[in-house]
């Protein structure tokens, strides 16, 4: 425990800032019902009320409290993005490592499937699938998971390839170890650093992708609060020189930047570069 604290304290300022932001976001997301002054779906006043003591950030196009919706939006959007990223990593890294470890036709088939999926522009792919199957949350998760898993597959396969040629993997094979051991014990521990770094970046992309889909009306469906759709719903305000609709967009941007700071630091650490003064 003290080790982890030591590492965190030795981090550069940018990474500390990133971690602070992530911690605040997580607290907000987890304790949303206790922090938010009003409910997520409560219609309280008139549409587009200005900032006031009652409604710190005003109200939205239906008269719901903006601040409360921002707080609940954090929960929905981050929760969705996190679960999609985790699923994409489970799927992508597992298949990637299997492709690298087995090689031959298994690798060929998996890689070609991924190539085909990657050749379709992801937004169009998602629009297509979601308009065919409807915009329920499970479909949303499945679609984005598959799209992102292809990128994870590429990375996992490429890094695992470098590990597979090592003598220690050969030692394990000659010992008679099963595929499961080779992947879990010999390959995975040696590619966790790049995978973790990619996890941070991927999380940002998923986040942006959900927001983009929500903006187009194919993401989380109303009345659930979501930062992407909040921008869309209140976009008209921008023409009246009101910056409120930019707040959810800013929240997205801040989280993305924060996570990238952390990822940069982790990449720097895992690459083993020394700081030469």
């Amino acid at each position: 425990m003290s080790n982890i604290l030591k590492i965190i304290f030795s981090a550069p300022l940018s990474a500390k800032f990133g971690m602070l932001v992530v911690v605040i976001y997580s607290i907000v997301a987890i304790f949303a019902p206790f922090i938010a002054p009003y409910g997520e779906r409560e219609i309280l006043g008139r549409a587009f009320e200005l900032w006031s003591d009652k409604y710190p950030l005003g109200t939205d196009n239906l008269g719901r409290d903006m601040l409360s919706r921002m707080i609940f939006g954090a929960r929905n959007t981050i929760g969705l993005a996190l679960s999609i990223t985790i699923l994409a990593f489970l799927l992508g890294s597992l298949t990637g490592m299997i492709a690298a470890a087995l090689g031959g036709w298994v690798d060929q088939i998996l890689s070609r499937i991924v190539d085909v999926l990657m050749s379709i522009p992801s937004l169009i792919f998602a629009l297509l699938i979601l308009s065919i199957f409807g915009t329920s949350v499970p479909y949303l998760i499945a679609t984005i998971t598959v799209i992102d898993a292809t990128r994870v597959f590429r990375l996992a396969r490429a890094t695992a390839m470098n590990v597979v040629v090592m003598d220690y993997v050969e030692v394990a094979r000659v010992r008679g170890e099963k595929l499961d051991w080779v992947i879990r014990k010999e390959i995975l521990p040696n590619i966790t650093a790049p995978l973790l770094a990619e996890f941070g970046l991927r999380f940002c992309f998923v986040f942006l992708f959900i927001s983009a889909l929500s903006f187009l009306g194919l993401g989380l469906q109303p009345p659930a609060a979501d930062w992407g759709s909040m921008v869309r719903d209140n976009a008209t305000l921008i023409t009246f020189e009101d910056m409120t609709p930019l707040l959810p967009a800013g929240a997205i941007a801040l989280l993305t930047i924060a996570i990238n700071f952390i990822v940069d630091w982790m990449l720097h650490k895992s690459s083993g570069l020394k700081d030469v003064s």
Binding site: D167, V174, R175, K185, P189
Partner: protein
């Protein structure tokens, strides 16, 4: 410009070219800045060669680079003076140093394959230096390159420069690297282990090139190596270093004949051949028999052709040959990684299934392997406990206290204390890593251990300790070794039986004494005569022999017919050797060699 440089330096041979006084260099480690070169003085006269000797971590390369006024990333020169031909390099500006480097001081790295840019043609890379330093125009530089290539006896000197680095063999590439170092006509060349990664036969060619260039052109050189026998052929003076400290400095003859320091004696001793006393075994039980195995990769040619080897229990069989002769392929066939195209392998009189997946756990347990480079043979994320413990739980079903106890017992076997159990490979030295690999192999309680070049990546003293350990373990646990090596010194000290492989075919095999004294097969003789001996003048003697003239350093080529060695063989019979497979001859029981000549005839030649 070159002429200018020579003018103000004065050309008298006795002039001091490089002087280093009280050089201290620090390196950045996890514990902060630590001294890695602790006050070293050296003096190098024009036309002299200075050898820097020591094990890894002695600071040899760091000093070599400092002679160019350069410190690697994470290193800094803290005090001392480096005076090259009147110029103080420590205080010189980057621009001044840039003008010297590659022009008047040049550098030859250990691995030519890594030092050449694979994306440029060789001659273009040769011309880079001279053009950059405005010594010559591009066409002049290229012309000079071709001339140098010719004087170095490189094949097809007019066109070889148009090739890409990957199209040239390792030894040739290293010689072209030496030629490149000469491109601007430097005063000083720093050679950093230029032959360490090469076969003995290729090493001779590179040494010859270096010797020719340095003596013919009156160039000074710093030659960095861990191999005393190699540097003895070249250097006028030797400096022995250890942990950044100067241990001993003297003329080469003095160091070889009468070393003053204990450490120098240890270095010399590690390089001296220690014959092993033959193991007496009453019942010669055959443990492994390989019957006319032919194997190759994918759709490629047969890398192994009808190879048959018998390994008796409790003995050491050495497989020798240059790179490309199929030694490692043989190991892969035995372990089942590469199922042979034809032929059979029997282990303890039962037939071993060709592919790994078909073998039972017990069959796998009995054959273990130790690898050449311990760094990549150990998973960097697994602690010693996991590395050594896994075979215990996998093959023998040990767990908990029993397993822990056995791991500590194994660590004692390999002369490491139990504190090592929680270490990661990063926290071990090269020798310790190799010991852990040995412990991992022992943990399976194997019958046969395949040692694939286990000492070639290690320093001489460490390598000797590993060999001693292997021999002690053999005596105590009656192990059987299949020892793959290109280093005949090692083979001579550890083997009972020797198998000489050439281009995937067995050239000669039999008991060590029968194969080496006297060697029948011309290839065996070539290999033996290529091992550097610890005395001055050996290189010249060897180069004047018939073997050398027949072409020591040629690539190993696999042939469909005839004798694969024919084109390098000094006694080849024209037409016949290229056309017909050489017959197998047995001059004594258990001793076989493949040659057209009769044994008596071959012995005459060696006389």
């Amino acid at each position: 410009m070159l002429a200018d440089a020579n003018k103000n330096s004065g050309n008298e041979p006795s002039a001091t070219l490089l002087e280093v006084k009280g050089l201290r260099i620090e390196g950045l480690s996890e514990k902060g800045w630590q001294e890695i070169v602790c006050g070293v003085d050296l003096k190098l006269k024009r036309g002299e060669i200075l050898g820097l000797i020591g094990e890894s971590g002695a600071g040899k390369s760091t000093i070599g680079l400092a002679a160019m006024g350069f410190a690697r990333d994470g290193c800094r020169i803290t005090s001392g003076e480096i005076i090259f031909d009147g110029i103080e390099l420590c205080t010189a500006s980057e621009e001044q140093k840039r003008k010297l480097r590659g022009n008047r001081i040049s550098y030859v790295a250990q691995s030519a394959a890594a030092a050449f840019n694979p994306a440029h043609r060789l001659l273009n890379q040769f011309a880079e230096g001279p053009v950059d330093h405005k010594v010559m125009s591009r066409t002049e530089a290229k012309e000079k390159g071709r001339k140098l290539y010719r004087s170095l006896d490189l094949p097809d000197p007019d066109n070889i420069g148009e090739r890409w680095p990957h199209q040239v063999s390792g030894g040739q590439l290293q010689r072209m690297m030496v030629a490149m170092a000469m491109s601007c006509g430097p005063d000083l060349i720093v050679f950093d282990e230029p032959t360490t990664a090469l076969d003995v036969t290729t090493q001779i060619e590179v040494l010859k090139t270096i010797k020719e260039i340095v003596t013919a052109r009156n160039v000074s050189a710093i030659y960095i190596t861990h191999d005393l026998a190699v540097v003895a052929q070249l250097a006028d003076h030797l400096m022995v270093l250890r942990y950044g400290n100067l241990i001993e400095v003297n003329s080469t003859g003095q160091i070889l004949e009468a070393p003053k320091q204990e450490y120098t004696r240890a270095l010399l001793d590690a390089r001296t051949r220690h014959e092993k006393t033959a193991v007496q075994i009453s019942d010669a039980e055959t443990l492994l028999s390989i019957n006319s195995v032919t194997a190759g990769y994918g759709n490629g040619p047969d890398i192994l052709q009808e190879v048959s080897v018998l390994v008796e229990r409790g003995r050491t069989v050495a497989v020798v040959g240059e790179s490309g002769s199929g030694k490692s392929t043989l190991a892969r066939v035995i372990t089942g990684l590469l199922p042979p195209r034809s032929g059979e392998i029997h282990f303890q009189s039962e037939s071993l299934p060709p592919a790994l997946a078909q073998r039972s756990k017990q069959q796998l347990r009995k054959v273990q392997m130790i690898y050449q480079i311990p760094d990549v043979a150990l998973n960097p994320r697994q602690r010693v406990r996991d590395v050594v413990g896994r075979p215990l739980s996998f093959y023998l079903g040990l767990s908990g206290k029993e397993r822990e106890h056995r791991i500590i017992e194994l660590l004692e076997h390999i002369e490491l204390s139990e504190h090592f159990i929680d270490r990661l490979p990063d926290e071990l030295s090269g020798g310790e890593k190799q010991r852990i690999c040995i412990a991992r192999a022992l943990a399976a309680e194997p019958e046969l251990i395949i040692c694939d070049e286990v000492t070639s990546a290690l320093d001489t003293i460490v390598a000797k300790a590993i060999l001693d350990l292997l021999q002690r373990l053999q005596r105590e646990l009656s192990l059987t070794y299949l020892f793959i090596s290109h280093d005949l010194d090692t083979v001579a000290s550890i083997a009972d039986q020797v198998v000489v492989l050439y281009a995937g075919r067995i050239a000669e095999q039999g008991p060590k004494a029968a194969v080496f004294q006297p060697p029948f097969h011309p290839y065996t003789r070539l290999l033996l005569s290529s091992v550097p001996e610890m005395r001055q003048g050996w290189l010249e003697e060897t180069l004047s022999t018939r073997e050398a003239k027949a072409g020591i350093a040629r690539e190993v080529k696999i042939t469909e017919r005839g004798c694969p060695f024919a084109e390098r063989c000094p006694v080849a019979i024209p037409e016949i050797c290229v056309r017909d497979r050489p017959p197998l001859q047995t001059p004594a029981s258990g001793h076989v060699f493949a040659c057209q000549h009769a044994p008596e005839m071959l012995l005459d030649h060696s006389a």
